[in-house]
């Protein structure tokens, strides 16, 4: 497949404006200005693009909600708070192809008649900050940003805002709170950000990869775009593959490529040709899959049918030597640490899960601990303010479901040692 999102990124100067233009960059911007803003939104809708942040909400529909709200000004915010363990798919765009993001933001701003855009950048991406700032300056200098873009009288300004390290700020309402200078915690919905977002004004928050798809759609047209990958959720998808594969990295593949293809065809199989034990397919909050479930197509529609989610497309591969109880504990430690503390079940429940897992993985598990894990997960699931707590509960449930015997070994050994 021809690469678009990662086009040009192997070149040493790929972040440079000239290289980007040489490779055909900013043509989509000019093309979009020829249409009415509402036509651009219609085109995105028609293309069937779904948000790449993890939830998979149709982007065009989100845009049309914001466009229908009469409140002004509107804002476009790019969610570049890529913080989920295993996820590093946005990094190559941010660091190697920043003008693609800038072009996408500019088109989004035009389509939504927004004059200000923000890139909420993960605090731990300081290198990307330098590159983005440089690229934005170049874009201003060449008239791709500013008060009179391409001499068409279009106004769009873009600012990079660095986060301070909280995972929860990748959740769009917590991101907006943080952008406003407040404590990063999710807001209640409704009102949705498309109606009352940044500073109470209609705001569209889209993932880096989502925004990076916009110029592609404008360039090749919705019809052609919707033929890429699964027609129900079309387009190219970035997969960040890590763990026990021979060639880890970021891969741009059509939506719906199966896990097996990703692991064995593109990443060269398991390191040392060992046996595969498990895969976390979409970032740490997506349920783990056992080795026999890897024939599922990686897309928003099919993954839930196979008991997991596409999430951010962060594939983590574990070979036969891995202690999955410890993997589970590691995931929950992360989620406990990142629980914002707003709602009871996540704040207290995830910590409780972690302490049980510490006990079990640390060799002092007790009879009944596995059932207690399931009980506590059940009490968290579906009751939290935002999806973080649900994610933690889902992780524990999926690990116990597929690998209960490993937990039992830990508990039984501990119990036998203790007696």
């Amino acid at each position: 497949m021809e690469k678009f999102l990662l086009r040009n990124t192997e070149h040493p100067n790929s972040a440079d404006l000239d290289a980007y233009i040489k490779a055909g960059g900013y043509k989509a911007l000019a093309k979009s200005f020829a249409d009415k803003p509402s036509d651009v939104i219609d085109e995105i809708k028609k293309a069937g693009l779904r948000g790449r942040g993890g939830a998979g909400f149709p982007t065009g529909i989100k845009w049309s909600f914001a466009a229908a709200d009469p409140k002004k000004p509107r804002y476009v915010v790019c969610n570049a708070d890529e913080g989920e363990p295993g996820t590093f798919k946005d990094k190559p765009i941010l660091e190697k192809n920043p003008h693609l993001l800038i072009e996408g933001m500019c088109i989004s701003g035009y389509a939504l008649e927004a004059e200000y855009g923000y890139i909420y950048l993960r605090g731990e991406y300081p290198h990307a900050k330098v590159i983005l700032d440089g690229a934005i300056q170049q874009a201003y200098d060449k008239g791709f940003l500013g008060d009179d873009i391409l001499g068409k009288g279009v106004r769009f300004h873009l600012v990079v805002h660095q986060g301070a390290g909280a995972y929860i700020c990748g959740e769009e309402t917590a991101l907006i709170e943080s952008l406003e200078g407040k404590r990063g915690q999710p807001r209640k919905r409704p009102p949705f950000p498309v109606n009352e977002g940044f500073l109470g004004k209609p705001t569209v928050v889209n993932n880096v990869e989502t925004i990076a798809n916009i110029p592609y759609i404008v360039q090749i047209g919705a019809d052609k775009y919707s033929q890429i990958g699964n027609p129900d959720c079309p387009g190219p998808k970035l997969f960040s593959v890590s763990g026990h594969v021979k060639k880890p990295g970021v891969y741009e593949l059509p939506m719906g490529t199966s896990l097996r293809e990703i692991i064995y065809d593109h990443c060269g199989g398991i390191t040392g040709d060992k046996a595969l034990k498990a895969v976390i397919p979409g970032g740490i909050t997506t349920p783990v899959l056992p080795a026999d479930s890897i024939d599922c197509p990686m897309d928003f529609v099919n993954m839930p049918k196979h008991g997991s989610m596409l999430g951010s497309g962060a594939v983590m591969v574990f070979d036969e030597t891995v202690d999955l109880v410890k993997v589970c504990r590691r995931a929950i430690r992360f989620l406990e640490h990142e629980s914002c503390g707003k709602c009871t079940p996540c704040r207290e429940g995830v910590g409780w899960l972690r302490s049980i897992l510490d006990r079990v993985a640390g060799g002092s598990g007790r009879n009944g601990d596995i059932d207690l894990l399931l009980e506590v997960s059940k009490n968290i699931m579906g009751k939290t303010f935002c999806p973080l707590g649900d994610g933690a509960a889902g992780v524990v449930q999926s690990f116990v479901k597929h690998f209960r015997s490993e937990f039992e070994v830990h508990v039984n050994n501990a119990v036998s040692v203790a007696s």
């Binding site: 404590r183 914002c340 707003k342």
Partner: protein, 873 residues
């Protein structure tokens, strides 16, 4: 109409409310923790999860709004299980120290766990540790009990507007901390205590001194500090007040309080309370019996009256006393003494301002409900910081600001710093030019129809002042003045809040005229800030030199005759002296005896040495008070009287709301009115009230404004002006309006001069609050406020001691720097013993409205070098 079905019960509701409110209407209780009626919904505790048909997830009832046809279940197995799970989660890191925790017995979490929770938890690991914080003198924080409901933070942020505390950290390590660290740097309103559902934030004042079930009675009464008249509940055990708390939704304050009202009540238990009558014998105050003291006072007053006539005796009443006390006081002065020289400290701003506005617009024009401020579409504040004078009224301004309406503040108002849209800081004492320019601009903007009334003629005849000329005088750029006028012109129901600082001037009457014009031009409602609880009441009761009870002018024969007939004795027909005139007359020897009830005139009237001379010149000074004040030390007789919480009566607050003050505990001493009645009887005008109800019954008979009023009428809290009676109807009688000339309105402060002004601190109230240990622990020492420029010129840093001198004297105290203070101004409070700013404010009276004039008093500051711990230089 929206129809919802909750637990099978169908109800119809007019507008979309939350499921929680809908359930409440249906009489179904859904348990909550993070929800609070005074706060926006939050959805954090997850205790109110309910099942909503067609939605797969459980929903929080506090955040979900009803829609037509919605079907809700609140007690299904799934809901009950979820609730249990949330409570189990909450107890994971909640210290289970209920047997030791003061909150036990009134703890929301404890109650909910008892009702809905699991009987035992399964969490077997250690709880988080967080040492209890005793860094603050008033508030104890125990974060092991905190359940992160954030009610305190939301209260502090959104309602109080102090933004002093925050949630810190994430996960179960989340806790609440003031931004200032251990000790709070806040307004000490204590509203966070009200909303804390558990024992995480508690008052230190009564820590471990009670259990909620020991409280024997709850008495609803009215706070004694300022003119807002907040409703408080005093909780009593035996004969002592355990604590004072508000009740959510009740009273003017609707459950909010300020530091003084919540913590300051302990002054009644102060060691400084007087217990026995005192008579000066051979220059020394000695204890005497009540009958001895009463007879002595009557005898001495009779002597003065016989020798010099009743008019040689003057009386000063107090707006800290009840309507009943003040009614009897004026009757005593008029009938038994034969003098109309009756006044109070209300004469320092509230009374003359009310009189001025009423003379133009009619009686009751300043009687406006405080709740109207938050509903106004604009607020104009001048003459002081309402958030420190009347803190709960100040919250209404902040509430208006939260709704993004324009809030214009003129002058130094630090409590509204984060809330005003137009923060205008004119040069000291040069506000007149600004007001004149605003009035001129508004007269131009508004159509002539607005000012068609008789007063409109007067507005038209005020000489116009250009914004440029005003800029030259007050230093505010002309564009800013015009912007302010534009903002005012755009308002349709604005609130105008007037503090005393703009009135206590030699041109105070000009300011009142301009404010009256402003009010007319923008159709505003006037609120007069009021430092004492009964300033309006004292005027209603006739403790003024020119009016009888019910606001009837003494000069009108028919009113006076009617009152004489009723009380059965004659009263003088000529107007008496006002407070400032009384002191001056004492100084000159015209007034020979002074009867003071509950006012510390030796401290609270400007120019202490002048006042001291005046009091020393008297033949006889008698004082009724609860404390050994500066005035008491100079008196010939001191009669100890009951304090707040020890007596029944009524207060009339600044909005004209009569409220019933309850007796809470027994005190030593007698009612003010009762002492007066006994002396009056000895002087030949018999007064035999069996109780305070008799006094109120008499008021109800003689005051046309209070016709037929009883305490029952006040119970609902809705006894608003004109109460049950009739206000005085009259045509416009302009109070001899002096038309100011342009030159006087454009008066500007002298170059490089430093002026002194009165600071009104949030944590104190007159000279009363110094008797409160709690308030003294928050703020124990006076300091002078200065701005950065002045500090720089004089090389002063925070805490440096200075000698502040004026023509009338000097004071030593530390300075504190405040960035937004006007240049060339030093503000000093008048609360602390031996360090009141009134000591050094030279005697000067505005002859027009008979108030002190505090403007343009020059001061010099001199740094005291190397002060040692002992305080010697």
């Amino acid at each position: 109409m929206i129809t919802v079905t909750i637990n099978g019960k169908q109800i119809k509701i007019e507008k979309a409310v939350t499921v929680l409110d809908a359930a409440r209407i249906a009489g179904i209780k859904i348990p909550t923790l993070c929800h609070h009626d005074l706060l926006e919904s939050f959805g954090g505790c997850r205790l109110c999860l309910v099942e909503v048909e067609k939605l797969p997830r459980l929903q929080t009832a506090c955040t979900m709004y009803i829609t037509d046809g919605m079907v809700v279940q609140t007690e299904t197995e799934r809901v009950v299980e979820a609730r249990k799970a949330m409570l189990e989660f909450l107890l994971i890191n909640h210290a289970l120290d209920c047997p030791y925790c003061d909150k036990a017995g009134e703890c929301d979490l404890q109650d909910l766990v008892m009702k809905y929770g699991p009987s035992s938890g399964r969490f077997a690991e250690g709880k988080r540790k967080h040492p209890e914080s005793y860094d603050d003198p008033i508030i104890v924080r125990n974060m092991e009990r905190c359940i992160s409901c954030t009610r305190c933070v939301r209260m502090c942020d959104k309602v109080q507007g102090a933004s002093a505390i925050s949630m810190v950290n994430r996960t179960s390590k989340t806790f609440v901390e003031p931004f200032s660290g251990g000790r709070y740097n806040c307004e000490y309103c204590g509203n966070c205590l009200t909303v804390c559902p558990v024992g995480a934030i508690m008052s230190r004042l009564h820590k471990h001194t009670y259990r909620p079930w020991y409280i024997e009675k709850n008495v609803d009464t009215i706070c004694s500090f300022c003119g807002v008249g907040c409703t408080v509940t005093a909780q009593v055990r035996g004969n002592s007040i355990i604590r004072v708390i508000p009740e959510i939704g009740k009273g003017v304050n609707k459950g909010l309080l300020c530091n003084r009202g919540r913590f300051g009540y302990d002054y009644i238990n102060s060691g400084g309370r007087l217990t026995s009558p005192l008579i000066r014998k051979n220059g020394v105050l000695e204890a005497a019996t009540w009958s001895e003291a009463i007879a002595y006072v009557a005898g001495r007053l009779q002597d003065v009256k016989d020798k010099s006539g009743g008019s040689a005796i003057a009386g000063i009443a107090s707006a800290r006393c009840t309507n009943e006390d003040n009614y009897v006081f004026q009757k005593f002065m008029r009938a038994a003494i034969g003098s109309n020289s009756i006044d109070s400290a209300a004469a320092f701003a509230f009374a003359p301002a009310q009189k001025y506005f009423e003379s133009i617009f009619g009686q009751g024009v300043t009687a406006n409900p405080i709740s109207g401020i938050a509903k106004a579409d604009g607020v104009f504040v001048i003459g002081g910081d309402p958030t420190s004078v009347n803190p709960v009224l100040g919250l209404q301004i902040r509430a208006a600001a939260q709704k993004k309406v324009p809030v214009i503040t003129v002058g130094y108002t630090p409590g509204l710093r984060n809330f005003s849209t137009h923060s205008i800081l004119p040069a000291p004492f040069a506000e007149t030019s600004l007001l004149a320019a605003i009035v001129s601009e508004l007269s131009r903007i508004k159509s002539p129809d607005v000012i068609k009334s008789a007063f409109g003629e007067i507005i038209r005849s005020i000489q116009p002042v250009s914004s440029e000329d005003a800029q030259n005088a007050c230093g505010i750029p002309a564009d800013e003045i015009r912007g302010c006028a534009d903002a005012l012109a755009g308002m349709t129901n604005p609130a105008i809040i007037i503090g005393r600082d703009i009135i206590l001037r030699s041109d105070g009457h000009t300011n009142l005229l301009l404010l009256a014009a402003l009010m007319q031009l923008i159709n505003g409602r006037i609120y007069l800030a009021s430092e004492q609880p009964n300033e309006r009441g004292i005027i209603d009761m006739g403790c003024v030199p020119d009016s009888l009870p019910g606001g009837r002018p003494i000069a009108v024969d028919s009113f006076r005759k009617r009152y004489e007939e009723f009380i059965g004795s004659p009263i003088p027909s000529s107007q008496g002296l006002g407070l400032m005139e009384i002191i001056a007359a004492a100084h000159s020897g015209q007034v020979k005896a002074l009867y003071v009830m509950g006012e510390n005139i030796a401290f609270n009237v400007p120019d202490h040495s002048y006042v001291k001379e005046a009091l020393e010149a008297l033949d006889f000074l008698v004082l009724q008070d609860s404390f050994m004040t500066e005035t008491a030390r100079m008196a010939d007789v001191v009669l100890p009287t009951l304090s707040w919480a020890e007596k029944e009566g009524s207060f009339t607050n600044l909005e004209g709301r009569m409220q019933h003050l309850q007796k809470v505990v027994d005190g030593q001493g007698i009612d003010d009115w009762s002492a007066l009645a006994e002396i009056s009887t000895l002087l030949g005008v018999e007064m035999h009230y069996k109780g305070v109800k008799d006094v109120m019954a008499e008021i109800a008979r003689v005051s046309p404004l209070h016709k037929g009023i009883t305490y029952e009428d006040m119970e609902g809290g809705q006894c608003m002006w004109p109460y049950k009676g009739e206000p005085l109807r009259h045509d416009l009688v302009l109070p001899g309006i002096d038309m100011p000339d342009v030159k006087s309105m454009l008066r500007k402060p002298g170059k490089d001069m430093v002026y002194i002004g009165v600071d009104k601190p949030l944590f104190h109230s007159g000279s009363l609050s110094r008797n409160s240990q709690a308030l003294s622990s928050i703020s124990s020492k006076p300091f002078a406020r200065i701005g950065g420029g002045l500090a720089g010129r004089l090389s002063l840093a925070d805490g440096d001691y200075v000698t502040i001198s004026t023509s009338a004297g000097s004071l030593d105290m530390p300075v504190m720097l405040f960035a937004d203070m006007p240049e060339n101004l030093v503000l000093v409070p008048n609360n602390f013993e031996g360090a009141g700013v009134y000591k050094i404010l030279a005697w000067k009276m505005n002859e027009n409205i008979k108030t002190p004039a505090f403007d343009s008093i020059e001061a010099s500051l001199k740094k005291i070098e190397r002060i040692t711990a002992e305080g010697s230089a």
